[in-house]
């Protein structure tokens, strides 16, 4: 087995539309190592969410190769944890039951893991709260715990902090890095926020639209914990931005940064 957990080669995705076929993804090549943190960044319409859906098994209408641990991706499953833009919790379940979902809390092993995860995502004291009582950041942490309980090989995050305010977002990024360093779960993180991409990723995948393709893959060789204000951070941020300017679509959402 290779050291790569996720291998994507010559991947294309075309959608049928009344005006003819639309190329959402064109010739995508991407390899992600076991335990690697990869961020995907690009303007809206560049296909980054479509790519994530394909890896998550929620979109199987692709052509080409998409393999996780050597097996082609044919459908969704717990080995590919997905965190959506919204938390998507079950509103009728409490926090701990949302995390357990279809597993029983009466099983002592599940109970213990759920308690550990509640501690990990810093939600102690909210086990019995309903989703309506949670803030956006807390709800998203429940969603993360729900995915982690299944010990996924890869965690796919689709702009998970996009709806949060700047402070909560910064805090959530720290929480996520904490989790990653503890669990060494492979992370594939989609964002349209430049700072977020550079702050989190060991590798930033820069995508451009029409048709959605990978423009460049930039390694971020900064040790964790990173400082957003450091000179090297700013330098790398500038490099990513430059990669976009080389592309024909400079329409990046810079204002979303912190």
């Amino acid at each position: 087995m290779s050291e790569h957990s996720l291998v994507i080669e010559h991947l294309n995705r075309t959608f049928a539309s009344p005006a003819g076929p639309v190329h959402a993804l064109s010739n995508i090549q991407l390899k992600v190592k076991q335990g690697e943190f990869v961020t995907l960044i690009g303007p809206s319409g560049c296909g980054k969410s479509t790519l994530l859906k394909i890896v998550g098994g929620l979109d199987t209408g692709y052509e080409g190769k998409a393999e996780l641990n050597g097996r082609p991706i044919t459908g969704p499953g717990i080995e590919k944890g997905v965190i959506f833009q919204e938390p998507r919790l079950f509103p009728w379940l409490t926090v701990e039951k949302n995390i357990a979902a279809n597993l029983s809390l009466k099983n002592p092993a599940v109970r213990r893991r759920v308690d550990e995860l509640i501690e990990l995502v810093r939600l102690k004291g909210f086990e019995k709260a309903y989703p309506r009582e949670l803030s956006g950041g807390m709800a998203q942490r429940v969603a993360i715990a729900r995915a982690l309980l299944r010990s996924p090989d890869v965690l796919l995050l689709d702009e998970p902090f996009g709806a949060l305010d700047a402070f909560t977002r910064a805090h959530m990024q720290e929480v996520l890095l904490d989790i990653w360093q503890n669990n060494k779960t492979t992370m594939l993180f989609v964002t349209h926020d430049l700072d977020e991409a550079v702050f989190l990723g060991e590798k930033v995948v820069i995508m451009n639209p029409r048709p959605g393709h990978i423009r460049e893959i930039l390694p971020i060789d900064l040790p964790f914990p990173r400082s957003r204000t450091g000179a090297s951070f700013q330098e790398l941020r500038r490099l990513v931005l430059q990669a976009f300017e080389k592309g024909e679509e400079p329409a990046l959402d810079l204002g979303a940064g912190i």
């Binding site: 459908g75 998507r88 079950f90 729900r146």
Partner: protein
């Protein structure tokens, strides 16, 4: 700049009175909200009684509340009221369980399966609009004046609200949650028990409430068309003898049990839907 605490004090002290008075006012607002529903019927009752006492009303057409109350006591003590109410309640319960149960089952089936929807829904929608009074003579012709025709009429009425609302509830489950359930590898059974049913529970409970209401209406029609017992019979019998007070007792009893059964479902609803986060009306909690 003032420190925050003094700033608050000056602000509130200027606009509002002391906390004790504010609390007292809040309590009185809560009390008003609770009893405000009684204001209208009580006023009506007082005016009605006053008009009756002043002999402005023909007691055969509209007896005064006090006379109705006296009749109610007499009928309660003789046991006549309770035996009739018992029979009516039994009919409503069985008719509702039969019709509502089938409605729930059909709603679930049609909700889950597109094929079942195409097969059943058009015919059921056609039957839905048929009024009780049009069907009742046929039921009586087929099943006679016995219990079967009454139960069937009640069942027919209570079938539809539960059917339609269950069906609607299932179809309005958020597709995004289905994606989550697929990612978490819910089995087919878990999909139903842990996603679809809880998500459509608000609609199912609404259907239950409506079905129960319709069951009481069906009961009256059934008992008035031909019966020798029950509250509906009591009213009809009293009419033929111009015992207006008895008719009123019957009507009031219907109103009370109808409201009681509705409140019962509401109570269950409140317990089961604690998780819901929706607008409760201005001044609500």
């Amino acid at each position: 700049m003032f420190p925050a605490s003094t700033r608050n004090k000056t602000l509130q002290g200027g606009l509002h009175s002391s906390p004790q008075i504010r609390k007292a006012r809040q309590r009185s607002v809560r009390l008003t909200n609770r009893w405000i529903g009684l204001l209208l019927p009580l006023t009506l009752l007082v005016v009605w009684q006053a008009a009756g006492s002043a002999e402005l009303l023909n007691p055969i057409l509209l007896p005064a509340p006090f006379d109705i109350w006296e009749e109610f006591r007499a009928m309660l003590l003789s046991g006549e009221l309770l035996s009739n109410l018992g029979i009516s309640t039994w009919r409503v319960l069985f008719g509702f369980l039969m019709g509502g149960g089938l409605g729930l089952a059909a709603g679930l089936w049609v909700g889950f399966s597109h094929k079942a929807e195409r097969l059943l829904n058009p015919s059921l929608q056609m039957l839905r609009t048929l009024p009780h009074l049009a069907i009742a003579p046929l039921f009586i012709l087929w099943f006679g004046f016995g219990e079967e025709s009454k139960l069937l009429l009640i069942a027919k009425g209570s079938f539809f609200p539960l059917y339609i609302n269950t069906f609607l509830g299932i179809r309005s489950v958020d597709n995004k949650l289905f994606d989550v359930a697929r990612v978490l590898e819910f089995s087919r059974m878990q999909m139903i028990m842990k996603l679809i049913l809880p998500a459509s529970l608000p609609n199912i409970l609404l259907g239950t409430r409506l079905s129960l209401g319709v069951a009481w209406i069906g009961l009256v029609v059934a008992e008035m068309m031909g019966s020798t017992s029950g509250i509906g019979f009591m009213i009809n019998d009293a009419r033929s003898m111009s015992l207006t007070t008895v008719m009123f007792v019957g009507i009031v009893v219907f109103a009370i049990v109808g409201k009681l059964s509705d409140s019962l479902v509401l109570l269950v609803e409140r317990r089961l839907l604690r998780w819901r986060d929706s607008f409760q009306g201005e001044g609500g909690q």
